[in-house]
């Protein structure tokens, strides 16, 4: 029994509830949030790899108690409870998500004198649900946490008090309320065909030909789950709403939201790959959406004048790279996609928090009214520039390593066009970023630019510095994570 595995979900939920109760008392709330936020990555590091059977429903123990007419049938091998599986790959993602959440909470405390209990509640609840989404080996359990994640994402936008945030929240909510039942229906089709919602059971039943793998109900189930996945990951046709969501949240909120999206995408992507990779159109469908995501979001980001929208579209475009890796479907490309997902969490958190300081200083996000901010804090300027280089894939940062891996994987698999496309999109990302950077920081300061705050808080600079160090470490020693990813991807195929 490894009690640290369920604790990864229990601790943030408890923290969320306690923080909400102590809402008025700033010091207690701050202390609890910081302690819990640092505890989650620590738990993720120290927990041993293992499997948690909830309620003691270990299939090996139950087998002896079965009624006689079930012995030896397919149903006898099924898991009867929720199962959480914790491996090294989950460790990496939960650790990074915990670090990002910690830094976002820290930034939030530094920029706001009066903290809001509900906002922290939403952050911790979302953290708990994406952690459970990662750990769970049960698609219905994943659906439940998918819905909770969607609700917390809406809550984070609503609590952010930016202009037009309610409209965007409502739109996101309506799309989510269509995507959620579609996912549930897809799960229903799988459940109806196979009789279990546990991923291992489903794979067992399909690979041992207990059901016809090409039966229409499984294919319909795949299509519906794909729809839910597109929604949760913000791939087209949901890229516009996703980027609007990012740009309406507070900067620290957007950093966390992007982390949530990446983890949702990862968890459902892996589950879909495990179950449906044999379907002939699987790779084509995912590559198609990946290309659309990359091309559409990057084009739209190049046309934006609002720098928060611009960064948000770049973040959504980067999600396309992850989907591309999944779509190519070789061992190396999946490892590249996972590495890209890791980097994505860190780099976009850096950019959202780093560029967020511009909004903090001037209360405007229109690039036409901004300029000359390098004079305010040159350290932050340089760190944001380096973060942008990491996003675009400039050595020696981690973005370079993962994109290199992705391009190599595409070339190895014979998709030369995709490799070329990925490189072109990276170059466009680079130019878009440099343009935004130039207009915000380098061009002469407009006369009518007013400052709401004079200085950037130290905690924000510290957070961005930590994220930049993680980028650099992953860029110089990619083997820390890629070895684990390659082993994991090898196990998938």
């Amino acid at each position: 029994m490894n009690y640290l595995i369920p604790l990864m979900v229990v601790v943030p939920i408890l923290a969320a509830l306690i923080v909400n109760i102590f809402g008025g008392n700033d010091k207690t709330v701050k202390a609890i949030s910081l302690v819990v936020a640092i505890a989650i990555p620590l738990i993720a590091i120290f927990a041993a790899v293992g499997v948690q059977y909830f309620g003691g429903h270990d299939p090996a123990l139950i087998a002896s108690l079965l009624p006689s007419n079930l012995v030896g049938t397919l149903a006898a091998s099924y898991n009867t409870g929720i199962v959480y599986i914790f491996e090294n790959i989950e460790r990496i993602f939960i650790f990074l998500m915990g670090i990002v959440a910690f830094l976002a909470v820290l930034t939030y405390f530094a920029e706001k004198k009066k903290v809001s209990g509900p906002y922290l509640y939403l952050i911790f609840m979302g953290l708990a649900s994406v952690t459970a989404l990662m750990l769970s080996n049960d698609i219905f359990n994943m659906y439940v946490f998918f819905e909770i994640t969607a609700l917390t994402q809406v809550g984070i936008i609503v609590a952010s008090s930016t202009e037009d945030n309610y409209e965007i929240a409502m739109k996101y909510m309506i799309l989510g309320a269509i995507g959620g039942p579609m996912l549930l229906l897809g799960i229903g089709f799988i459940l109806g065909t196979i009789g279990s919602v546990n991923i291992n059971d489903i794979i067992y039943a399909i690979s041992n030909n207990f059901v016809n793998p090409y039966s229409p109900s499984l294919v319909i189930g795949f299509a519906l789950i794909l729809f839910g996945w597109l929604y949760s990951a913000g791939l087209p046709p949901f890229h516009t709403i996703k980027s609007a969501v990012y740009s309406k949240a507070r900067p620290n909120g957007s950093a966390i939201l992007q982390g949530f999206s990446v983890l949702c995408m990862f968890a459902f992507g892996i589950a879909m790959y495990k179950i449906f990779a044999y379907i002939p159109y699987f790779n084509t469908a995912i590559i198609l959406f990946a290309i659309l995501a990359m091309v559409l979001s990057i084009t739209m980001s190049a046309m934006e004048v609002d720098f928060r929208r611009m960064i948000a579209f770049l973040a959504v475009g980067e999600l396309g790279f992850i989907a591309l890796g999944f779509g190519i479907g070789t061992q190396y490309s999946i490892a590249a996609a996972l590495f890209q997902a890791t980097n994505e969490i860190v780099i976009t958190a850096l950019l959202f928090i780093g560029f967020g300081t511009v909004y903090y200083l001037t209360k405007t996000s229109d690039t036409r009214k901004l300029g000359g901010l390098i004079a305010v804090d040159s350290t932050m300027t340089i760190m944001v520039l380096l973060g942008g280089f990491a996003l675009a894939g400039v050595p020696p940062f981690n973005g370079f390593q993962s994109k290199l891996m992705l391009v190599q994987a595409a070339l190895d698999a014979g998709y030369t066009e995709l490799a070329v496309l990925a490189i072109i999109v990276s170059v466009v990302i680079f130019f878009t970023f440099v343009k935004a950077f130039h207009t915000v920081y380098l061009q002469p300061k407009p006369k009518d630019l007013k400052f709401a705050h004079e200085k950037i808080p130290k905690a924000t600079v510290f957070s961005v510095a930590i994220l930049l160090i993680i980028c650099l470490v992953l860029g110089i020693f990619p083997n820390i994570v890629t070895d684990i990813f390659i082993t994991f991807a090898g196990g998938l195929i």
């Binding site: 809550g155 409209e167 309320a177 959620g180 549930l184 229906l185």
Partner: protein, 120 residues
């Protein structure tokens, strides 16, 4: 047409009605009602999967042998799942209605096209 098939058609009807309302009706409250119908249809679909014609309720009672029960009861897993999903649906609906009230106070209308037309 047997009962299970009819119920499946009903769930399909709910989903189609709901999707139509959520996509084409302009009034926000009606959109939300439509979404409630989609969720209801999905729940009904799941429950239909576990139905067994001529079976018994999946509650184990005295006097039943385990073998007979396993052969004759409805499948209880979808029912356990639907309990959760009903509650999720209700909470989603509550959040959406709260947002709709806030939006009405801001724009003075429930029409989505007018509301979203306000932002640039």
């Amino acid at each position: 047409m047997d009962f299970q098939m009819a119920s499946l058609f009903a769930s399909g009807a709910f989903i189609i009605i709901g999707l139509f309302a959520a996509v084409f009706i302009d009034n926000l409250i009606k959109k939300i009602i439509g979404i409630a119908f989609i969720e209801e249809g999905a729940n009904l679909f799941l429950i239909c999967l576990g139905y067994k014609a001529g079976g018994v309720v999946p509650i184990f009672m005295l006097g039943m042998s385990a073998d007979w029960f396993a052969a004759n009861s409805a499948y209880p897993l979808p029912q356990a799942l639907v309990l959760t999903s009903i509650v999720i649906g209700a909470s989603t609906l509550a959040v959406m209605l709260a947002l709709a009230m806030v939006l009405y106070r801001k724009h003075g209308t429930l029409s989505v096209s007018e509301m979203m037309g306000d932002e640039k």
